[in-house]
């Protein structure tokens, strides 16, 4: 077995390794604050937020678009920030769970999640709440889902039955399995807002 010399001092950058990539300037408004970045164009919105800006109110569950933990709102629409390239969101208004309320002034969805005990470890929760926010807007705008009675009807606001909520939230994994109460919490807010 070859023996590496350990530890080694950092080596200077060489062509072909880190540093080779041209960066692009990216401006984001994150939870109401303007932020400017110089980014490798391959950096996702999620990594830009967490690693570059220190915004940890968005979480990473899989990094592959398969769990919803990283859901944020970009200009009001829900996106999976691990699959979104930051460079293509230049100028966007990004909202994380921290932008929807604070512990002493919770937003209505956050309030409902607490009241309904819709979380346990809380790891999926920032994504659930952003996803719910985006989903409520979609329903208001008349966007049908797989379980909507008439998928051709794209004009009237959707009545959010439990089945509609389950279907529309089915991109957000909660391994603690708080679904029963997540559905109830979102239902409460849907009714209160309408």
């Amino acid at each position: 077995m070859a023996t590496p010399a350990a530890p080694l001092p950092p080596r200077p950058a060489h062509p072909g390794a880190a540093g080779r990539v041209e960066t692009v300037p990216v401006r984001l408004r994150v939870d109401g604050v303007d932020r400017e970045l110089d980014l490798d164009p391959r950096v996702s919105v999620l990594d830009a937020l967490r690693d570059r800006l220190g915004v940890t109110s968005v979480k990473k569950g899989c990094d592959h678009g398969q769990c919803g933990a990283c859901t944020v709102l970009a200009d009001g629409r829900r996106i999976l920030s691990c699959l979104a390239l930051a460079a293509s969101y230049d100028g966007a208004e990004v909202t994380t769970s921290a932008g929807l309320g604070a512990p002493d002034r919770l937003g209505d969805l956050q309030e409902a999640f607490v009241a309904r005990d819709a979380l346990q470890c809380g790891y999926c929760t920032p994504g659930q709440i952003c996803s719910a926010e985006g989903m409520l807007a979609e329903a208001r705008a008349g966007m049908p889902s797989h379980v909507s009675p008439d998928v051709r009807d794209v004009d009237s606001p959707v009545e959010l039955t439990d089945d509609e909520i389950r279907e529309r939230m089915s991109g957000n994994l909660c391994r603690c399995g708080a679904y029963v109460n997540i559905v109830a919490a979102i239902g409460d807010v849907a009714r209160a807002r309408s």
């Binding site: 080596r11 390794a17 592959h64 309320g101």
Partner: protein
Amino acid sequence: MTTKMFGAPVARREDPRLVTGGGHYLDDLGAGALEAAFVRSPHAHARIVDIDVSGALDVAGVVAVWTHEDLPGRAGDPLPLLIPHPSIVSGVTGYALARDEVNHVGEPVAMVVATDRYVAEDACAAIRVDYEFLPAVVGVAAARDGADLVHPDAPGNVGAQLVQEVGDAVAALESAPHRLTLDLDFQRSACMPMEGKGVLASWDTDAGHLTVHSSTQTASGVRAALAAKLDLPLARVDVVVPDVGGGFGVKINHPWPEEVCVSAAAIRLGRKVKWVEDRREHFVSSAHERGQLQRATVGFDDEGRILGLDVTLWHDHGAYLPYGVIVPMNSAVQLVGPYKLRNYRVEYVSLYTNTVIVTPYRGAGRPQGVFVMERTVDAIADALGLDRTLVRERNFITPDEMPYDVGLLFQDGRPTVYDSGDFPASLAKLKALVGWDEFEAYREQARAQGRRVGLGIGCYVEGTGVGPYEGGHVQIETSGRVNVATGLTTQGQGHETVFAQIVADELGVRVEDVHVTTGDTRRMGYSVGTFASRAAVMSGNAIALAARRAREKALRIAGDVLEVDPRDLEIVDGVVSVRGSGGGPGSSIPLATVAVLSNPLRYAFDESAKAATQFGSPTTDPDAPPVARGEEPGLEGKDFYSPPRATFANGMHAVIVETDPDTADIRILRYCVVHDCGNMINPTIVEGQVHGGVAQGVGGALYEKLVYDPSGQLLNASFMDFLMPFASEVPHIETDHLETPSPLNPLGIKGAGEAGTIPASAAIASAIEDAEGFPIHAMPISPYDLWELRRAHAAGDLPSLRHGARDGGGADASATSDAAPDVPEGQR
């Protein structure tokens, strides 16, 4: 006392922080730390011929590279066998970095530490490892066959083997009027918490002190293991557990290779080093559970009473055995459930395979055991044409038989003695909740509409709150703030809330004034960890006892000041007063002031502190020492709770499914739970735990299955391919509770964390079988599996239930059968 907090559905205090993104999980810590990445084996079984790290050293930003030979001292020894159970005949554990052989895909071979994770990953890709392939052993059947070996030191691939017996099962079987044999199959799954593992190690060079943050279920365990591995005094190591994004068992194993390597790197480099597991790593390098093949032979009488039961479990424990045999132990012993088994023999054979290690996943072997028992009871009912609940009732242990000694040793080495429970009452509640007796009418109605429905049931008993102990520390500050510490860790169970509820009641203070810390060895070094549904039982009781000590001291001091007998005092809302006095001046004193007086001061740092100085309280006896003999300064209490044995919770689930006659799609129409975990500290939290358990139980029954190919590659190592339930898959859950207090502990509580998961596969199999009219002997079951079973059934390869719904019942109840319905190939 004003409002009693114990038992109140108090909203969780941790939630406002978590819903606004304020949770601090491992990856949210350690900004600026160096980051580690691991080279992992792409092969299931191979000898390492050569490792060439030179390519990695050329990558800019790389700080250091480690292989096995670079691990200092004992860090290079095999990882510990944490639970050295006597049934282990060959206990092989892995290394922090593989030495000369790899035994599963994902085993760590080298570690790179670099300026960030991107660089570390790039460097990992530049490391060349030459392997010489060895034959891979995958699956229970291959392991049992023993033609190829995982470890040369484990002949037949057997890691552990144990027979336990009560009565004489073989004789009872021989003389029984009826006998049945069932061959069953339970597939591999995994905890799969939303947050994977992670570790952040900081070395304080000046102090020679290692502080490790880890996403673990045991702070004290990691601390002790790291101190031993890294040759550090225990006093120079602390482990702190931040918010943890779910555990479900996988995070109880320790030390993980990464905990050792990252800590060693931090010490060597004198820098903070961090590693956060990515999703794919979690699939191939943490732990799995559940995989078992099982055979049960039961003998019973005409009434369905079980006369003898003989069970063999072949358990797949993966490549190494760091966590011992807790899982098959639980399967073997908890299989008994609520039933009287006077003649029971069980053997488990725990086998090595070239797959990821197996450690407990919520339920920890119980779902498999309950599956055997409940499938067996259903088979008896079917053979005799009896109602399934009737057969259960006839075999139940009755309340007047409590405490009931099962006659087997539990996983903690103590006798399995059920402390309390009322199974007939639970069953009656469940039948009422689901409408058991009205189901046939519903089935008829559904049939008329061309729909196919089935009703299933699953019962279990769960040993919770195993020892050895947990501790509690309660300290009242001079502001009236109450600090509480316990050593075990939290992964979303709401411990901050329930422990505060307990202390508020015990002390007589407002719940808002109580602040709880868990999983921090700086605050409570003596602890075991969070597993086996033990946190509420163990730490809950320890904290209650600690609070009682603090209260006793507070009353003693207040009694002196108020010149009354402490027994005449009470504490309400943080004020000590003479009972019935109305709390006027001279008859009451705030607890905060008592705290001031409890600590004699020389220096008056603020107004309230004056009272504690030598000039503050003129009445003090000038001849007595300021701190009386046998007393300690401060208003604190510390105590430990160490029960002689576990307390046994129980419950029953009933489920109604609908199976699509054409597509074989399986839908849960109703899911009902009756649950008995003794006194509930917070019913909302208990309910949440049950919901979560059921969600994972439904996943285990219908979706979750880890699939290896014969060469040992995990084929579905992503959230896309390993199916877990989303909101669209988890039904509404209807719950009812029974509260039979545990006589074993001061608070009368039992654990609740795993309950929801345990009988789910059994209950759902029962319901599908009831809908389809042929036996279900393998779980999980997908629509495809069901469709294949239907084909086998139509072809005559799978017998009908004798009295199954679709056959209308009415067969000869005296029919004896040794011709066990064997599991057809298609179902495996």
